[in-house]
Amino acid sequence: MASVDTSLQFDVEKIRADFPILKRKVNDKPLVYFDNAATSQTPQAVIDVIVDYYSRYNANIHRGVHALSQEATDAYEQARIKIQKHFNIPKPYQTLFTAGTTHGINIVASGFASILKAEDEVIVSALEHHSNIVPWQMLCEKTGAELKVIPMLENGTLDMHAFEALLSDQTKLVFVNHVSNALGTVNPIEEIIEKTHKVGGAVLVDGAQAAPHIKADVQALDVDFYVVSAHKMCGPTGVGMLYGKEEWLEKLPPYQGGGEMIDQVTFEKTTYAGLPHKFEAGTPNICGGIAFGAALDYMNGIGFDQIAAYEHELLEYATAQLKTIEGLRIYGDTLNKTAVISFNIEGIHPYDMGTILDKLGIAVRTGHHCAQPIMDFYKIPGTVRASFAFYNTKEEIDILVAGVERARNMLV
């Protein structure tokens, strides 16, 4: 059995104690949670914030004169500032609260419906999650613009030569994920942003999979839009963030009509509120937003550099151990990836592997990971995906490797 490297700058056992769910048993076995790319677990500090909100100051925000409403508004707006600072966003009002990454993408896609023309082109990468494909397809159907695809290579990276060939002065928008959810590949977004800007296009980066591992600086990246979900980074579900450059946010029309997003309403004409409220119609996920801020505090307390270094160590260890299993193939064989291993064993369907691993208390994701084009590329029905977080251990990886061996013996 491997032991945890004591040279680490943080104590993983101490970190694990922050996550009550990690003490759980599943099928009478200690839970081994390797589905972090789908959703991360929640530390007690964040759970406490949620309980505190509902116990002490649950109220609607931005409209009440009473004390609870003011406290809730303050906490929500403080959370916005935490998120703003975390991603180095110039202004708080460019930090929009959303229901999550998919919502953020749809706000931008629907806004571009009034901007794009039939002769325009939009480019999407072959490594996208369905949520970063379908809204753009719908947009293209609506506007007549053409959707082009950056192809992928066998090692799970994007074909950047092909990307350059796709760019032209007709390119208006490029959508790419910072990190592929199915394979963990880190995409060269800096290069994509720079080259797209040269032809006058804008770039939306889906940061859902990157945010738990990489602290993105939207100004250094010079990205036009960046979207994330809180639940991938120790926060609750149903809340996320959309960053946009100010000129774009001013230009895009509101996504939904309703309360909060208006300035003046008469039956003749309604004028919209300024940023960020223009895009935040209705009562938001107030508690979720506050807890998102607390989740960032928690992760920053540990430190993203430490998190990335430790996760990389887990990735290298797991890759080496899994490769010893006969017939096992890892998809996405690039050095530049986050702590995700997507694999199959020759002759074994991922559903069967996932079912046996679940019986052993090991949570992995199986299937096409909402990225069917990638599965079609490899001509497979899906993969087994183990995704690691900073609270996982090498001992847990040993349990996974033994579980995969055991399942293999049963299934082959």
């Binding site: 074994i348 369907h349 559903y351 069967d352 079912t355 046996i356 299937g367 029905p381 049963m410 299934l411």
Partner: protein
């Protein structure tokens, strides 16, 4: 010939012999491997039941007023459950298939595989089996 409830009771008793999930799953995998496969000509888009996780193909023929089912899946555990379902329903008259339920799957500890959210094609397969039974029953009713 045994009735559907009798066959299902038999299956429940077989599974009771196993001490743990390992043995149950090993038995199911064996059943899956021994499943009489669907004729390749029916393994097409027309007969496919798409689940997000695994695919299922199912076909039915009427012989002597009884429905013979054949099926297949790309996942072996799914195939094992298909084998159990086929053993329970195949060779039975349409009306008995329509009247039968699948609660015996709970009793053998495989309930989770029949969850509609599991997306393995099994729930749709049972629906398809029932639809075949409705169709053949309607055919029989119109002849009589």
């Amino acid at each position: 010939m045994k009735s559907i409830p009798e066959i299902q009771q038999e299956i429940v008793e077989e599974f009771e012999m196993f001490d743990d999930w390992m043995q149950r799953y090993e038995y199911m995998i064996e059943l899956g491997k021994s499943l009489p496969l669907i004729d390749e000509k029916y393994k097409t888009e027309e007969y496919i039941i798409k689940g997000c996780q695994s695919k299922v193909w199912v076909h039915a023929d009427l012989n002597d007023d009884k429905i013979e089912f054949t099926a297949d899946s790309d996942a072996i555990i799914t195939k094992g459950i298909i084998a159990i379902l086929i053993r329970s329903f195949s060779g039975q008259p349409p009306q008995e298939i329509l009247d039968a339920d699948t609660s015996f799957i709970d009793k053998i500890g495989l309930k989770e595989h029949l969850s509609p959210t599991r997306a393995n094609g099994l729930v749709s397969m049972i629906k398809q089996i029932k639809l075949y039974a409705i169709a053949y029953q309607a055919q029989a009713d119109s002849k009589s």
